[in-house]
Amino acid sequence: MNVPPVGATTSRPSRPRRGLRLWAVAGALTAYTLFAGRKVGFDVSSFWSVWSNPLWGKFWPIPWDWVLDRHNVLDPLVETLQIAVISTLIGCTLALPLAFAMSPLTSPNRVTLVVSRSVMNVVRAVPDLFWAKLLVTAVGVGAFAGSWALSVFSLGVMVKLFSETIDGADPRPLEAARAAGGRHAPVVRTGVLPTVLPEYVAYGLYVFELNIRASVVLGLVGAGGIGRVVESQRQYFRFDRVLGVLVLVFVVVFVIEQVSVAIRRRLV
């Protein structure tokens, strides 16, 4: 037995030198940023000229009588919320089984894993605005197209976030459930779902927040909701009304986010 005694001297390793590489990377990034800025004609001074634009005067005063009239703003705003609710529900419901299929930990087999991952990669690669345009073309202008577009968008976001949570879940209860002789679905349901359920709800709320903001934007391309009002008033150059609508939207989004954040903090 040739075991060295405790405390025997072995040579100390030299301190790893990362400094040079770090500087090289930082330098390259800086150089490319400057190059990119010049290429697109980025000019800081243009920020200041924006403020002298006479358009700003048109934003004020906010015509509250018009803004607070039900038919002008509140009804479309409610429609926006409804789009957000329904699409969150559809997207998150579909995401639950899909996310389990997409995680190597819980996927029933390799084929399911690869197919579901590929399909979702394609779905996510298409931007939400493009989905909205596509669906407006397919089913016509209005909240219906917006709901579908946002459902697809919710599904994409939710599946990405949630399947990564599943990836990181404790595999040991799964082994226990498997050892008890359960079928695949109940094994996943009893062995993993309780562990990741709080995150699922939290992500669902987060997707709801995203959807409210996104449904404002989607209205711009004819997918219903408050975005349609913003777009039409902008076309009439009624920026005072646009600002009023935006203030209202800000208040609603802010309140919902605060509530959602409070709930999420309690969940996880």
Binding site: R172, A176, A180, R189, T195
Partner: protein, 293 residues
């Protein structure tokens, strides 16, 4: 302390080498053998050979302690038995049913008859103790019911009875994460009991517990073995615990069975042979002034 150990007649102890005669010894009791390993080898992807030509017979109702260094193949031995780790070659049967090469449906039936207890308890922390124990009833209810969480009241009753057996039924509706280590392992035992298994496998069940709790949990396992006649295999690496609770001892070294015999025939030399080195205090759960045994 050692009087009990003489109770069980068993194959003559033999240190490694002559496996042929050992198998012959057991052939006389083969009718009662619930578990049979015949020339079983397990090679993991990457080439590590965890079990080498293992032959083993375990009779109905036996309480077998498996010892060996970490990496000797103890965990693999248990996991090959319920198919969690597929055997590369050889034959493993439980009550006459072949495990090696069994299809998914057959494997589920086999696993439903084998309860398993884990070193790290493997409970779902974010749900109730009762829900954890109900996992032991997965094979008894249709998949849609357990997936939706619609457990029949008979199954809940079975789970509660399993909790009563390990004396922890008052925690049924407590979140599993709120239990102490010893309580969590009892829930693990209850989960295995809920299967109403013929065989119980315990993979280092007390490695994560303190000495006092370790003895309680080992006592639970032995009591269940006695009262319910469940054939039990326990992996241990503490030698004093193995002596205290074991009836029959199986020693593994480098994936081979190097000892198989009655605990009363085990000496310190036996352990040294199994471990391939001198026994140290680290191999004992409790270190007294006097040497153990």
């Amino acid at each position: 302390m050692s009087s009990e150990r003489q109770l069980k007649p068993s194959g003559s102890p033999s240190l490694s080498a002559d496996r042929g005669t050992e198998a012959d010894d057991h052939d006389t009791t083969d009718a009662r053998a619930v578990i049979r390993f015949d020339d079983v080898s397990v090679t993991y992807r990457g080439g590590v050979q965890a079990l080498r030509n293992v032959d083993l017979r375990v009779d109905d109702g036996e309480f077998v302690v498996v010892v060996g260094l970490s990496g000797a193949g103890k965990s693999t031995l248990l996991r090959a038995l319920n198919g969690l780790v597929p055997a590369t070659s050889g034959s493993i049967t439980i009550d006459g049913t072949e495990v090696v090469g069994a299809g998914a449906a057959e494997l589920r039936v086999i696993r439903s008859q084998i309860g398993m207890i884990f070193q790290t308890f493997n409970l779902v922390h974010r749900t109730s103790v009762l829900n954890n124990v109900l996992m032991g009833r997965l094979s008894a209810v249709p998949a849609w019911r357990s997936t939706l969480g619609l457990w029949p009241s008979a199954e809940r009753e079975a789970a509660l009875q399993a909790l009563e057996r390990v004396g922890i039924v008052e925690k049924a509706y407590v979140r599993a994460s709120n239990l102490s280590g010893g309580q969590q392992q009892r829930v693990g035992i209850a989960r295995a009991l809920a299967q109403e298994p013929a065989v119980m496998l315990a993979d280092e069940p007390v490695a994560a517990l303190d000495p006092v709790t370790s003895r309680q949990v080992m006592g639970d396992l032995l009591r269940i073995n006695r009262e319910m006649g469940i054939t039990t295999l326990v992996n241990l690496h503490f030698l004093d615990l193995a002596r205290e609770f074991g009836r029959r001892l199986v020693g593994l070294r480098d994936g081979e069975v190097v000892f198989d015999g009655d605990i009363s025939d085990v000496t310190d030399d036996t352990f040294q042979e199994i471990y391939g080195r001198a026994i140290t205090d680290d191999d004992l759960l409790t270190v007294d002034a006097e040497p153990a045994g």
